[in-house]
Symmetry: C2
Subunit: 491 residues, 2 copies
């Protein structure tokens, strides 16, 4: 069988791109930097959405929907925010087209120019805080815990499917609180939800930490993130939770009467994960044969392929498969029976490997006689023959086992690729030869961070929340440092 993908060793970036396209997850569209998310890719995203949505609702959040458009003037209200986003905004200037005078095609109708240009939302803090102003008068109106699932646009110059696209899908939570403590608690609660989701559903270990000032969200007082390590040794920021302080409340004049009858500015958070998670999921586990999906997010958990020569055989196999499918489905397992006569079994096996279906069953006339079935697991590529009787129980266990195994594997990989560097030379050598997460001391200044980044292309991914305090000296300046921070090259 012909090789479908570039190998990771040969060309990791090409492998990733091949995989996204060949597995039918997404493709580039006719519009620069915008992708089409294909049904198989979208089915994974829907699973992610549904789990996250449940987690948000279980912690008291409601969904709502705010406009796609943001008046240009709103963006300027918060100084850091406009600085961060103005350079990558899609701008709507007109609201009508007309026939070209030449009679060929259409053109913009210059008489239909907007008085104030509209920005396609790159994120919705400004339009939402402008709205919250009318919703919040007293402490009784707080907290306001709202999330929205939406598309956003950031005009990126270099794009990659899922990882960085001009338009992407995401959720953005925007909450309002009466006190700083409550807003901080919310910020950390969401960070924890993101980390749990990554671990328990994506089977992807992440490190929770604080971003440095350089990497902070434009308009935030503090940004927290979850960071994952990909197989090429590069880090991928997979979700962020921002403590916004009173910045947006001040920019949009949102105050409330507290319990003591005094007027105060409202405290805010915002947080989001996007279709970028798809990129993380793909890169965290997959191999040169294709996707490896955690069973809990796989659109198809079990694929069944009949092996037969004659139509009569297929009929008998199909009857048995129906029985098996019924039992699997009753156990909450998603099954696809692929009885297409247009493709050979070998082709189908490769196809389900490529698509990362966790378990593949094959059954032929001999199996019917012997009461057996062949089971292949995608993660280890192991094949075994089992009695068909009770196979649903074996598969149920196995799906949990696979979920656990690929998490373990990713965790082992991360541990094997996490290094300590105690001098700048050692650091540079590690960045150059090993990649991965590098724990080192840093003096806490943006200047030093910038110097390191300029010289090595490694950046501080985060100041990890859970790590032992350790007195040390900045590897560059020798100034004191109280804990190691995590450096890596990053997506």
């Amino acid at each position: 069988m012909a090789k479908v993908l570039s190998s990771r060793k040969e060309d990791y970036a090409q492998w990733y791109n091949d995989l996204v396209i060949k597995a039918g997850l997404a493709e580039n569209s006719a519009v620069r930097g915008c992708m089409v998310i294909k049904p198989y890719g979208y089915a994974i995203w829907e699973k992610m959405q549904s789990v996250l949505d449940r987690m948000f609702k279980d912690t008291g959040h409601s969904n709502a929907y705010f406009p796609l458009f943001i008046p240009k003037s709103f963006l300027s209200r918060e100084a850091d925010h406009v600085e961060g986003f103005a350079k990558e905004c899609a701008v709507v200037t007109h609201y009508r087209l007309k026939n070209s005078p030449s009679g060929k095609g259409i053109e913009v109708d210059e008489t239909a120019r907007l008085e104030e240009e509209l920005i396609i939302r790159p994120t919705s803090e400004t339009i939402i805080w402008n709205t919250y102003k009318n919703w919040i008068q007293s402490y009784r109106d707080l907290p306001l815990l709202i999330n929205q699932w939406a598309n956003v646009v950031r005009w990126e110059m270099r794009t990659r499917l899922f990882l960085r696209t001009t338009e992407f899908l995401w959720q953005e939570g925007h909450t309002a609180h009466a006190t700083k403590d409550e807003a901080m608690e919310e910020t950390m609660k969401i960070l924890d939800i993101y980390a749990k989701f990554a671990k328990n559903w994506m089977a992807m270990p992440v490190i929770q930490g604080t971003k440095t000032e350089n990497e902070r969200f434009a308009g935030a007082v503090e940004t927290y993130s979850i960071e994952a390590l990909m197989q090429d040794g590069k880090a991928l920021q997979s979700g962020t939770s921002h403590f916004l302080g009173q910045n947006f409340a001040k920019a949009f004049d949102v105050t409330f009467l507290n319990r003591e009858g005094k007027l105060e500015y409202v405290w805010a958070t915002s947080w989001g994960v996007s279709t970028r998670l798809m990129g993380a999921l793909i890169m965290a586990h997959s191999d040169d044969k294709g996707l490896i999906l955690p069973p809990r997010l796989a659109p198809i958990q079990v694929a069944i392929v009949p092996i037969y020569k004659k139509a009569g055989e297929l009929e008998m196999i199909s009857a048995k498969v129906e029985e098996i499918t019924r039992k699997l489905t009753a156990n909450g397992i998603t099954v696809k029976y692929d009885d297409r006569d247009t493709h050979k079994p070998g082709w189908k096996f490769a196809e389900y490997e490529l698509k990362g279906v966790p378990v593949r069953l094959a059954i032929g006339p001999r199996d019917l006689e012997k009461g057996t079935i062949e089971l292949a697991r995608r993660d280890t590529l192991e094949k075994n023959v089992y009695p068909v009787e009770g196979i649903e129980n074996r598969i149920k266990e196995l799906l949990d086992e696979i979920q656990e195994t690929i998490y373990r594997k990713a965790l082992d990989f991360r541990e094997a690729n996490t290094f300590r560097a105690d001098s700048y030379n050692e650091f540079k050598e590690k960045v150059e030869t090993k990649g991965g997460f590098i724990l080192a001391h840093w003096d806490g200044t943006s200047e030093t961070e910038q110097k390191i980044s300029n010289e090595t292309r490694a950046t501080i991914r985060c100041i990890p929340l859970e790590s032992e305090k350790e007195e040390g000296k900045c590897m560059v300046t020798g100034k004191p440092s109280s804990q190691r921070v995590i450096f890596a090259k990053a997506y």
Copy 2:
């Protein structure tokens, strides 16, 4: 208690707007014509989405996602399509902002002008068929049954919350087929899904029919719709399903090799329902006290209000309510216990009436003694005292009963407001004095339809699919007609 809403009789349009805002469903945003869908309104929309999404998937459709942007030139490919949409398009011309030279605010960076302008999708046929071109080679690739949930933008001059907004949310299905018959079958299958959804979930009777040429979707060969009658006697088109023939396949050159090895153009359908359904739902059932929601779409099905004077009483009531809630929840019923001490019971009763919660329970110390509970149903405003023992069974039945009752009521209303007119004078008088659906003969020409519309503002809503054939003469021209069509003033 002060009147919250205008009455329907006084000012129907004002009543509707008051209701949408006061019940917390939606409000106008800072962006002209764009709405904010508030959490309570969005919760209803989410329920609609989830039911429809299940219906689409059960009939073999998958979700996917296509870009928000459409290159301007794509729009011109199908002649009718561009004619229908060019005049209401939001156009992106630039991709960057910069600081104003004055130092105040930001402005469009003229050096960042797009070579080809991008249109915000008003509907996605063009970008999708441009994509399908690469997905379809042979009959084996067909049918392609894809849906997307998305936002779209049509630059409307006069907007009304939910009914007509510049940006709205919707689903748009786009399918590709090997034969005309199969595409027609799909068109009708979806129309039927929409009608079933309206009837069984929204409790809203609708008429399925064919649109006349005047009202056809721009680019369709045939458009079918479901039409509902609102309480002011105006019709509301609630969903459309289009048979597109080979129009888009030809415009985007999408061909396939058929089973005989011959190249053919692909057959297409598209279909959609939008947040406009929210407007239909609100207007179909509600009264001067507020919303009336069908239980199957109500975010809260049962609200429970404690009646107490002392804290000790509340404690005992809450213990009992917990017990009741557990039983209701076990029956799949959504419950809200409102024990806020910031509002009086009377205020809460009015609030749940306004929000259309189907069943409201009230329980006080006397009830605890007697083992009773007060139950009020929103649709009839009836109140009764029941034994608390087994109340979950009574409520379960009652929710079905309410669903059925409000459907019946809407159907009775429609029947009482459907008239036949046999002369143009009679027709004009009915339109003027009664409103409603008017069944009349029409000669099948656009000219006559236009004349009637100009003179009466009533339009042909549809040529109903289920109606007896009846030979007659056009009420305007006297030319022959083989069946009555449905006229009405419309939203």
